[in-house]
Subunit: 227 residues, 2 copies
Amino acid sequence: MNVPPKNVNETNREYAFRVISANIISLDIEPGSMIGEQEIATMLGLSRTPVHEAFLELSKSKIVDILPQKGCRVSMIDSDLIREARFLRITVETALVEDACELAKEEDLRELEDNLELQEFYLSKDADKLLALDNEFHKLIYSICNKMQCYYMVSLMSMHFDRVRSLSLHSVKDLKIVSDHRAILNAIKKKDPAAARAAFQKHMARFELDWSIICNEYKQYISDGST
Amino acid sequence: MNVPPKNVNETNREYAFRVISANIISLDIEPGSMIGEQEIATMLGLSRTPVHEAFLELSKSKIVDILPQKGCRVSMIDSDLIREARFLRITVETALVEDACELAKEEDLRELEDNLELQEFYLSKDADKLLALDNEFHKLIYSICNKMQCYYMVSLMSMHFDRVRSLSLHSVKDLKIVSDHRAILNAIKKKDPAAARAAFQKHMARFELDWSIICNEYKQYISDGST
DNA sequence: TATTCAAAACTTGTATACTAGTCAAAAATA
DNA sequence: TATTTTTGACTAGTATACAAGTTTTGAATA
């Protein structure tokens, strides 16, 4: 497990949540593995309490399953939950990119442009950096539409999807993500909601296609019930 | 504050969350009021720990604001957060009713029908019962589409909206909610996604119209920043 | 009287101790 | 040997104790 240092102005609970989340998404903690509160607490140099609270929050999105008096299991990759996460993201963000066409100010467009240029720079250079920029791009759209609380809720569920997305970034060669983002931003700049919607849906549709590849390559992490 | 008995197979934390949530939504705990962990814990006959954990979860949806080392404040009615909650519900559930047209089985339709007949029975008789049936109706649609995790996430944010919705049920006389539901169910039965979408959006649009009434009648609960 | 400042009385955050439930392996029994 | 029982070593859930920060209070001072 990867244990970065604690940020300033971060409570122990937030620190625990941040570190555990990151390790689950990056697969440094393997799907299906058992993790104990005491074990994590020791690694992070904390008591059980803040770790317990972090586990509680993670269990809300079913990214971990707390088995009372038994332990805490990191959920297997579950296609039903991924489907829900994808559904939520596609549904919400499709509506957002349409709204963004009229809400985006000059400054917002500049921020999106800056982000996208960095994406183009890091393409085929640094996959992790690209993933972070991708997340930031989507987050900016929530911000433009004043929907940051929705962002938080969608993010929580999206962890199921993010675990797979990071696999997909490493396993699928021909990445069209950046050019997709370019198409979305162009549509927003032209204030064309229909084009923005179409570009966004095309973008998100790629992750549907990747599922079979992921399924083959990482079958040891896929839960039995998944179809 | 209203303190119902603890259910069996319910942890103290879940009990605390259930009771506090209900009292916030029903306005038995007034928007803007300070509530202490110890105070609630004593009322519920618990220690601070499970109450603290319940507050944490409530703070995730910003229905309460935890001010470290100071206290916990029940959020004022905030039109921005209501807007977000409405946006999320409308966006997600509009997509769901379309999907429900092809996913709903005979048994699902029967459940919706039973619920709706109860709504018609209780109309203008028992507003609280009607509200509960309304919630159940919407929940059934998530269930039909296999999106219960989304339901949980949307519900959490929806608390902002629910507080206002209960006001609206008591203050607005001419309730069209039940006939709206009838129209939605008919569209699902006919497997007509376009009609279902239209009926649902008409349904949710009513709460936009109610805002001015609510604003006038309950201005002491509305936060300053709200427009 | 008005102002300053310290201490007391609060708050939540966190650590620790204890409770109760689960499981597995060892021990007792047939 | 096979089966049941017991016991001990784990777990998370909860209560309690303490730490650290904020606000209030009230006495001392100008």
